[in-house]
Symmetry: C2
Subunit: 306 residues, 2 copies
Amino acid sequence: MELPQSATVCECFARDGLQREAFVPTEKKVEIINRLMRAGVKRIEATSFAHPKYLPQFADSEEVLTRIERVAGARVLALIPNTRGFDRMLSMCEKGKGPDGITVVVTASESYNKRNVGKSIGGSMEEIAGIVPRAKAAGLSVIGCVGTAFGCPIEGEVRPEAVLELARRYRDMGADEIMVGDTTGMSNPLKTHRLLGLLTEKTSADLIAHFHDTRGMGIANALAALQCGITLFDSCLGGAGGGMVKETEDAHSGNVATEDLLCMFEEMGIATGIDWDAVVDCLPAAREILGRDLYGKAARTGRVRH
Amino acid sequence: MELPQSATVCECFARDGLQREAFVPTEKKVEIINRLMRAGVKRIEATSFAHPKYLPQFADSEEVLTRIERVAGARVLALIPNTRGFDRMLSMCEKGKGPDGITVVVTASESYNKRNVGKSIGGSMEEIAGIVPRAKAAGLSVIGCVGTAFGCPIEGEVRPEAVLELARRYRDMGADEIMVGDTTGMSNPLKTHRLLGLLTEKTSADLIAHFHDTRGMGIANALAALQCGITLFDSCLGGAGGGMVKETEDAHSGNVATEDLLCMFEEMGIATGIDWDAVVDCLPAAREILGRDLYGKAARTGRVRH
């Protein structure tokens, strides 16, 4: 089994983990982000510049970016849903409090994209094409996300060619990395291996794998991605987060749990540079923030190797 | 990604799933076994012939075997811990109510074996060597289980050579299949791939992969096993069951969940011959039997493909 020697995990608890939750006080977000960075997490999705009317959770995005520590070697990322959010984010950069990089988002399914942001795929890509050069000019790295890449809860199958086309357009715009998102946990390891293999072969982009554990295959999908040579992964503490699944809410549709993903990597000798125990120490705070138990498994028993 | 075209799942809820639980009425066991067989499950671990003093759960093993339906094409298996249990089982065969096959057990760790059955590995293998030819003579198939094959909670690392040696001894005795057990969920996909690869290469035995989801890697371990060409798997409804982990009890150390394993197989096009929805329909009964929620994920949202 061919596996990479190291991998980078982007911790998304403060953004994807909280997106559908009741507003969490800024100080709690700041504390957990700081703790994760001190644990050695090299990438943090810290907030979103969505309009507070639509996602009141992120009404404090400026304050989060202002108050979090900046840890050497840790990159702070923000999700940018549209030009208006980008402009807000850019004014933070001008004050020296901006993120290190941004994530722009489109989904490979027309129906999901319309439902998600009220635009066609073409409309989203046109807006993104205006954002990316401005971000690059401001010295920000850009992640181009292709959501519902492995399937859409509304349309069903998503053609790999549709994902490839969006990845190419991102690359041509100058995006640094392409995130391939299994937004509602519809992939399986074979599908993951085929799509990420295709994208690796046909584009020169660095790919980020973003899995949800909706059907219990999140960690197995990550294994399949590793076998394609992918070394960049998204995850959330405790498997928090989750999008629309079959048009119903389901807490179990959360992201792959950070502690479980890191456990697998480290147990297989894939270096992450992260102190696993320090990440696990963040779980009580995450549970307190969400007011419920979380779904990761590895922290309950602990790792095998130390 | 090279995967087999079909796989066989042995449903262990009635044995491994219940072993550490308070006594479950015989009729409940019989009902769930019957439903699983009617759902197309081809192998059922129905009971254990452990002495009722040690495992009162299985005080009704004769009654379970007597009362369950016999479904064409479905094999009923019983765990045999020692000669005394074998003799009890054999008297069931003489009445025409015996199982189709038996599982005999040793662990690859001396300490765990002593703790589990109060014997050395050598002592267990000597007793098993007396049982196997008698079972074969009675027309029963024999599964030789090597437990703690991927690690022991007492001793830590287990040498692959120790597992290989036990597998060879089983083969030489005439065992039909070798079960490789990750008794307390200590494997990872790389370790799984290496050990099952080694055993596949060095023995001609058919291997059964038995994983626990203690650290969230159960399904990923199954994927790694598939990639070694393994087509026989154990699992429990809802991820029930579980052995000693770090010398403490932990409900989350359960077996790989049948519904999640089957979901991954079927989603990847690996035929199991099992009606997934009919298996999922057994979950409320399993939850009622255990009096608590279970840990599988796929049934909460449902499969992608139908």
